[in-house]
């Protein structure tokens, strides 16, 4: 009888304990699921940045600006692009892969105004806010796509005024390295031509050459311009590689100090050429600001705020006289100081850029 009572008592207790365990297990399971779900929900939203090329000074400045903006907003960022220019297929492949992660925004610097239309349209159809950095597409993309770029009309005018004043308003000029697939490049070249024609009527525009698919082709185009125009007084080069190429050719021909050379865009080599007086001027882009504003714009778009359809960022003209000014160094120093200051253990003379 006693054992029956005990069995009954403990049986009930065991039954109660089993039920409690079951409830506890279910509660634990629910807690785990909630934690997992919560963990996923609270992963910071991702902003994807895809430049024309990675790991070049100009584009890394943009990267630093974008990173600053997304960090301020507690977003995360992905940044990757082709390792060399004109690799449009790779740029599209990177974007396509990142779209599969449903990012909170896409900032892209189109390497080709036509080829990128489909992938940007895809992002837009998927409801992903897009900012076109530095350059536009061949057709307007409408709502959901904003533009943050250099004021290319002003950049063209700055280059024209530099050449116009260097030639005292008289002489001949050639435009080289025009990239017909990048709208910003075309806009600057067009603005330059308009300014020369309107403000410097005694300066003749004698040639215009396009950038080739390789440095060798670009150099060949510049060589032809020089061969056909032996009395040429000035060259406007429309990008970093064409400016480098033009300088190298002028150096080979011992014409560095005979022909005025002005280039668009910036890198460390061009900066040093300006400092040495072998390149008259560069019209630099404030890529850090472009990157920052692109990041801010995407965050605002994601938050449903209204944003400017187009934001223009002022370019800077740097000559030997102002290349070491605080403004110039802010614009030209790689990562806009983002990394240089972090390199506590770098020797002063070193040049640790990648």
């Amino acid at each position: 009888m006693l054992s029956d009572r005990l069995q009954s008592k403990y049986g009930r207790e065991i039954g109660v304990r089993d039920s409690a365990r079951r409830v506890a297990s279910i509660a634990l399971l629910v807690l785990c699921c909630w934690l997992c779900a919560n963990c996923r929900t609270h992963r910071p939203p991702l902003i994807v940045g895809v430049p024309q090329v990675t790991a070049e000074e100009m584009w890394e400045g943009m990267h630093a600006g974008l990173l600053k903006a997304v960090t301020e907003s507690h977003f995360s960022r992905y940044w990757n692009g082709p390792t060399h220019s004109d690799d449009v297929e790779r740029q599209i492949a990177i974007i396509d892969r990142q779209l599969s992660h449903s990012p909170a925004g896409l900032a892209v610097a189109p390497d080709n105004a036509s080829s990128l239309i489909s992938i940007v349209s895809k992002a837009r159809q998927e409801g992903i806010p897009v900012v076109l950095m530095e350059s536009e597409l061949a057709i307007p993309m409408g709502a959901g796509v904003a533009i943050v770029e250099t004021d290319n009309a002003l950049a063209g005018r700055m280059a024209a005024d530099e050449i116009g004043s260097s030639l005292s308003g008289r002489g001949s000029v050639a435009v080289v390295g025009v990239n017909p697939f990048v709208t910003s490049n075309l806009s600057r070249a067009d603005a330059f031509e308009r300014e020369i024609k309107s403000r410097y009527p005694a300066i003749r525009l004698v040639a215009k050459s396009f950038s080739g698919s390789s440095i060798a082709e670009t150099e060949e185009g510049i060589e032809q311009v020089l061969d056909r125009n032996p009395d040429l007084n000035a060259i406007l080069a429309c990008g970093v590689s064409s400016t480098r190429a033009a300088h190298a050719i002028l150096a080979r021909r011992n014409q560095v100090h005979e022909i005025v050379l002005v280039g668009f865009d910036q890198d460390r080599d061009l900066e040093n050429l300006v400092r040495r007086g072998e390149l008259n001027a560069i019209v630099a882009q404030d890529t850090y600001r472009i990157g920052y504003l692109s990041g801010r714009t995407l965050v605002d778009m994601r938050d449903g705020k209204s944003v400017a359809e187009r934001t223009l960022v002022a370019p800077w003209l740097f000559t030997k006289n102002n290349i070491d000014s605080p403004d110039a160094q802010r614009i030209l120093v790689t990562y806009s100081g983002w990394d240089k200051t972090l390199c506590t253990y770098c020797t002063e003379a070193s040049d640790v850029l990648q």
Binding site: W79, N80, T344, T347, V352, Q354
Partner: protein
């Protein structure tokens, strides 16, 4: 009797818990040393455990060669759970420009100049030892001039140690073992785990005798 059962039950639960904990610690320790020590099999003409991200890689005379001067071509292996370890490799640059070296604590590698998280230590022509942290962008951590500079087509030895958040790298002349330059630094907010590999930037390169061992 009942008390005895309860006591046995409790002991079993404690033993089970201890066993599970010990197994977890052992498993974690195994994973953090997974595959170490490692030595390459380039002399046996094998590199199947490596994965390339850019570049043009092939085995040649007991070494592995990247023939392209891609920016940031990588060859990666090793578990992403590896933590404190030392990476050794002989490195030779095959171009007259750029740099080549080793990467460690690498996670999320992809094709792209700086498309990974981790550290890079390389010899840059004409004569610099550079160390950087990569988080999809290159953040230089340290650089020193190499005594006597560096030349293409000459073997150098690189050794990188990562212990906790302390990183040290040394470049030595291969023939006499003379130290050419070294850096050692703490990296607050360091990456603590990841695989290892080879990387070159705007230069082709040759690597051999890649050895990785756990360090305490």
């Amino acid at each position: 009797m009942h008390l005895l059962h309860r006591s046995v039950g409790r002991t079993s639960i404690v033993l089970l818990s201890v066993s599970v904990l010990a197994a977890a610690i052992g498993f974690h320790a195994c994973r953090s040393r997974g595959g170490l020590p490692y030595s390459d099999h380039f002399r046996q003409n094998q590199a199947s455990e490596w994965k390339s991200y850019g570049g043009s890689w092939h085995l040649i005379d007991g070494a592995i060669r990247n023939d392209s001067d891609d920016r940031g071509a990588k060859l990666i292996t090793g578990s992403s759970d590896l933590s404190d370890y030392q990476t050794d490799a002989d490195v030779q640059l095959t171009s007259s420009f750029g740099d080549a070296g080793i990467v460690f604590r690498v996670t999320a590698p992809e094709e792209g100049a700086n498309a990974f998280y981790g550290y890079y230590a390389g010899i840059r022509l004409p004569g610099e030892l550079i160390v950087g942290k990569v988080d999809l962008g290159f953040r230089p951590l340290a650089s020193v001039r190499l005594q006597g500079g560096a030349l293409p087509n000459v073997w150098y030895h690189l050794r990188a140690r990562a212990i906790g958040c302390y990183i040290s790298v040394e470049a030595t002349e291969l023939e006499h073992g003379r130290s050419l330059g070294q850096v050692a630094l703490p990296d607050a907010g360091c990456y603590r785990r990841g695989g290892f590999g080879l990387r070159s930037y705007e230069s082709g390169g040759l690597w051999r005798n890649v050895r990785v061992s756990a360090v305490q």
